[in-house]
């Protein structure tokens, strides 16, 4: 597809959790918990409040269509700030420093006086009903070819456990939000920029790792379409596919618009009660519904059921809008008869709502209040279809298609967080920040300095054990030994079911140190680590697995072996070295370094011959 020609414009927002000791606005640890460890639960209702201008934000209004009760799990690692029962602590200076470092790496200009804002979020993910966020820096640039518009420091939201239940352990973890300008023109470029920013963030060594610790939102529009924000792309590998599918969706919506326009289509806003039609229906949902309303969409026939993205139809979009009112979804005549609704019922429905073959009839079922709300939402979405693509916030579905979440938020959702004083960022503070080496540069350096092949160098630079590797090398461990142990050996042990997570940095360093000082043969590393991982101390493990052998002992072991195999030695001469090496190694089982064995064996062989 020629993305240039269709006017693709994309920007991304990257949210990355920071690995600070404390949360952004309280002194709780930034540790995630298992929900079985919760020690408290409470529930609240949230309601949209007016902004200072007396407006209610449109996105907040949409979430307020139903009054929702939200439950929260609390832990012994969360406090009253997460409960929204204590004013926030001052902005975490550690998080600010990490954020300013990232800004410096991107060449962005810090804001001299940082003001914390409240961003209205009433989907329940924030107990307060807002997310605290501060603009930290502006106007950066990265080599991957995108301008960085803003860097913000935000508090992470609570983790949704199911429906309206949230876990407070995640709430308040510092997040850096990086927003690029809409500079990307192809799906591949989006992926490239996201990958670069991810690499840059990891280079700081101060960000959290693992699933869910980084999330990308993508802003996409095409010529004639509209800006759509897709939230929560967690896998980088899917990001280009998400862009491709959104382009397709917008193109399809534009085609539908053109066709609707050619047909002179109208979304008739008058709902028709059709409950009587379904008194004896086989559809369980319709049969038990207290209220069923129909809406006639004139000229929409065939288009509501048309696919606009893999697995998504215009009808899916209408259904998403309707669900905001608490109904389970919609039925429409493009997909009926089905779901227990018979051909005869459909034909009576068409008659009752005055629809002809060119029209599509949509029905919603639920309580009167929910059905009335839902039917208006369907009309709203149908009217948007006449105009093309609505501006929306959408969420990613498995595979890369998306579903409607809410309208794009307006500026009415931001107001000052008055409980946190502004923070002044001085020039001295900015100048004192050390810019860390990029992981890509580190990869190059490892190749050049240590002679690692590119794959190993890269693996090491991106590994969790990178800081340990650098420490080990600084303490005199040979780079290749450190790299092999920390990557290959640990990976193999893990594959064998060893709990490598139990191997602390100090243990690993101590084992490597013993190898380096000749107290342990490198061949014994896997067995020693296996023992250490099961809870034994390093010294005890070495003693048990590979008690050191003095060179005198080694010499006598080797002499005994040679004497036993004298005939073979005489027959092969120095050529016996190779086969005998294996015999000796077997005998000492990694308690002595191979080189030392080889040296002594060579000498002893020579003297025997």
């Amino acid at each position: 597809m020629d993305y240039e020609a269709i006017g693709l414009k994309a920007g991304i927002e990257i949210h990355q959790q920071l690995d600070t000791a404390e949360k952004l606005f309280c002194h709780c640890p930034t540790r995630l918990r298992d929900i079985s460890e919760r020690d408290g639960e409470f529930f609240r209702y949230l309601r949209a409040t007016e902004s200072e201008l007396g407006e209610i934000d449109r996105a907040a209004q949409e979430e307020m269509k139903q009054v929702r009760r939200f439950s929260y799990y609390a832990y012994d690692t969360t406090c009253l700030v997460e409960n929204d029962e204590e004013p926030p602590a001052p902005l975490n200076p550690e998080a600010l420093m990490v954020c300013l470092t990232i800004a410096k790496m991107m060449g962005a200009t810090p804001i001299e006086q940082v003001h914390v804002m409240r961003k209205l979020v009433i989907d329940g993910s924030n107990t307060s009903g807002f997310q605290r966020t501060a603009l930290i820096a502006l106007n950066g640039r990265i080599p991957a070819g995108a301008r960085i518009e803003t860097l913000c420091l935000e508090e992470e939201a609570a983790q949704r456990i199911h429906d309206s239940t949230f876990s407070l352990d995640r709430l308040g973890i510092p997040l850096v939000e990086i927003t690029t300008a809409p500079d990307m023109r192809t799906p591949e470029q989006v992926k490239e920029v996201a990958a670069y920013i991810g690499m840059l963030l990891r280079s700081t060594g101060r960000v959290k790792r693992g699933i869910g610790t980084i999330r990308q939102d993508v802003n996409i529009s095409i010529a004639g379409g509209a800006r759509v924000e897709i939230k929560g792309v967690q896998e980088l590998d899917l990001i280009d596919e998400v862009v491709r599918r959104e382009v397709v969706r917008q193109q399809q919506l534009l085609l539908i618009r053109d066709e609707l326009s050619a047909r002179g289509a109208v979304a008739d806003p008058a709902p028709i009660p059709v409950g009587d039609l379904f008194k004896e229906t086989k559809s369980a949902i319709l049969k038990k519904a207290p209220c069923i309303l129909a809406i006639r969409l004139r000229g929409f026939a065939g288009l509501v059921g048309r696919e606009i993205q893999p697995g998504r139809r215009l009808g899916s979009e209408m259904s998403d809008y309707a669900k905001k009112c608490g109904v389970g979804g919609i039925f429409h005549t493009d997909e009926l008869p089905a779901y227990g609704v018979t051909e005869e019922e459909v034909s009576r429905l068409r008659t009752l709502s005055g629809a002809d073959d060119a029209d599509c009839v949509v029905i919603v079922a639920g309580s009167r209040q929910k059905a009335e709300c839902a039917v208006l939402q369907v009309v709203r979405r149908a009217q948007y279809a006449l105009d093309g693509v609505p501006e929306e916030t959408r969420k990613m579905l498995e595979g890369g298609s998306t579903a409607y979440m809410r309208p794009l938020p307006g500026a009415a959702r931001m107001y000052p967080e008055t409980d946190v004083l502004p923070v002044t960022v001085t020039r001295e503070c900015r100048d004192s920040l050390v810019v860390p080496e990029l992981l890509t540069d580190k990869t190059g350096r490892f190749s050049a300095t240590y002679g690692f092949d590119e794959q190993l160098a890269r693996q090491l630079a991106y590994s969790d054990r990178l800081p340990l590797f650098e420490r080990a090398v600084a303490e005199g461990v040979k780079p290749m030994l450190a790299a092999r142990t920390l990557l290959a050996t640990l990976r193999e042990l893990k594959r064998d079911g060893v709990d490598t997570g139990a191997l602390g940095d100090d243990c690993l360093l101590s084992v490597l140190g013993k190898v380096e000082s000749g107290d342990l043969a490198k061949e014994a590393i896997p067995d020693v680590l296996r023992e250490v991982a099961s809870g034994t101390g390093v010294e005890a493990a070495v003693e048990r697995i590979a008690p050191p052998i003095t060179s005198d002992e080694l010499v006598s072991i080797i002499r005994a072996i040679l004497t036993e195999r004298e005939e073979f030695v005489r027959e092969r001469g120095m050529g016996a070295l190779g086969p005998l090496m294996g015999v000796v190694m077997e005998e000492v089982r990694g308690r002595v370094d191979g080189r030392q064995i080889s040296e002594i064996l060579k000498n002893e062989l020579a003297s025997m011959l």
């Binding site: 409040t49 200072e52 007396g54 001299e112 006086q113 501060a134 106007n139 502004p422």
Partner: protein, 402 residues
């Protein structure tokens, strides 16, 4: 206005200045502080007139008076200073809490817009008079919106100044009204329902737990704010709450201790003597602290344990009492009864003429002493009244619970 910052031209709205920085609201909604010298005014910001919807009332519903004094329940952000201030009128409260208009028809009075630490005896009297007038005019209940910090002082003051046949409900909120999670809506709705209930006394209605599930109804002379910030900071001390209001059903249940509607005729006794102090004793306290109350008509002491102060302090107190100050002993323990007959210190205090405050809360005793001294200056009568239960502030038997 616009300014050049970070190499680009930024446009936004000037909000205020902070030190050397101008606070500017950018178009994306963020506020930032930039050097004041870097901004250039390009025109006046468009005037903002907040959309104000009219408050519609249903005259068929019970009539309830709502008296607003300020506090968090009515707080709003001042966008110039960024501080939270009380700027709501009673009408604003009705507008902010739509469900209220479905419970009762309200008549609103705005007596003050203060934070409750600025409350004083003159305002307590204004509140009592306003409530009394409303009851005489036929109000079926009265709600007083109040900052939570000193709500228990005001509730106790009004309890003594007023005899009421209808519910007089003090209500506030712990989290500001401008946040979606504020407790103001639930507290206000529960207080309105309590105000038309079968209750007939002065009470405080606030969250019972951290969840939005229930409000407690506390007796005005037995309630205390026991946490700086939690929603359920208010607790009845020395007794159980007198009732509950479930949420969202708004079902009111009154306990056996509650005084019921119509138990008395309305009466106003609004004289207060504000030459009365409250002093918390601590070990090693310089006796001159007590001397500072010379000339006061009354002093409530929050003593240690059973109601003690140091031997030094007793000598000074003794002189104070001789010179005409009425001294009442209460306990820092808050729970339990003062008893100055167990240890020598206590007996010395009694000998000096200190009045045992029984199981009264220190703040309730303070309000009571102000009111008693407003009524009489006869020391024997003061002692008798201070030791007589007037508004449920003092119990004959101490309950088991803590």
């Amino acid at each position: 206005m616009c300014c050049t910052y970070a190499g680009t031209e930024l446009t936004g709205t000037y909000i205020t200045s902070r030190g050397d920085h101008a606070v500017v609201k950018l178009e994306n909604g963020y506020n930032i502080g930039v050097p004041a010298a870097s901004i250039v005014c390009t025109g006046a910001a468009p005037a903002v007139t907040p959309a104000v919807s009219p408050v519609e009332q249903n005259p068929d519903l019970p009539g309830v008076a709502i008296i607003s004094t300020g506090g968090t329940i009515a707080s709003r952000i001042d966008y110039r200073t960024g501080a939270v201030t009380s700027q709501f009128s009673a009408d604003d409260i009705l507008r902010a809490i739509p469900g209220l208009a479905e419970i009762a028809s309200f008549r609103a009075h705005q007596l003050a817009t203060i934070l409750s630490e600025n409350m004083h005896s003159g305002l307590w009297q204004d509140i009592a008079r306003c409530i009394y007038d409303e009851i005489r005019r036929g109000a079926e209940g009265v709600i007083v919106t109040h900052g939570t910090d000193t709500m228990s002082f005001s509730a106790a003051a009004v309890s003594f100044m007023l005899e009421t046949p209808v519910p007089v409900i003090f209500v506030g909120s712990q989290r500001s009204a401008d946040r979606p999670s504020s407790d103001n809506v639930m507290n206000a709705l529960c207080s309105a329902q309590a105000a038309i209930s079968n209750l007939g006394e002065v009470a405080v209605v606030m969250h019972a737990s951290t969840s939005d599930d229930c409000c407690w109804i506390h007796r005005g002379t037995r309630v205390r704010k026991m946490h700086t910030s939690r929603r359920n900071a208010f607790r009845s001390i020395g007794m159980s709450p007198i009732g509950t209001v479930e949420y969202p059903s708004l079902e009111v249940s009154l306990g056996p201790a509650a005084v019921l509607r119509g138990s008395t005729e309305p009466a106003l006794m609004d004289r207060l003597d504000d030459r009365v102090g409250l002093l918390s004793f601590y070990p090693g306290m310089d006796a001159s602290v007590i001397s500072a109350y010379e000339g006061f008509h009354g002093l409530v002491i929050s003593g240690t344990g059973l109601g003690h102060v140091s031997a030094d302090s007793i000598r000074t107190l003794s002189g104070l009492i001789r010179d005409g100050t009425n001294v009442v002993m209460t306990s820092q323990c808050l729970n339990g009864r003062v008893c100055d007959r167990v240890y020598d210190t206590g007996r010395d205090l009694l000998a000096a003429g200190v009045i045992e405050g029984e199981d009264m809360l220190p703040e309730a005793a303070l309000m009571k002493l102000m009111w008693v001294l407003g009524t009489t200056d006869d020391p024997d009568e003061v002692t008798r009244l201070m030791q007589t239960n007037l508004r449920g502030e003092l119990g004959r038997c101490s309950p088991h619970g803590l």
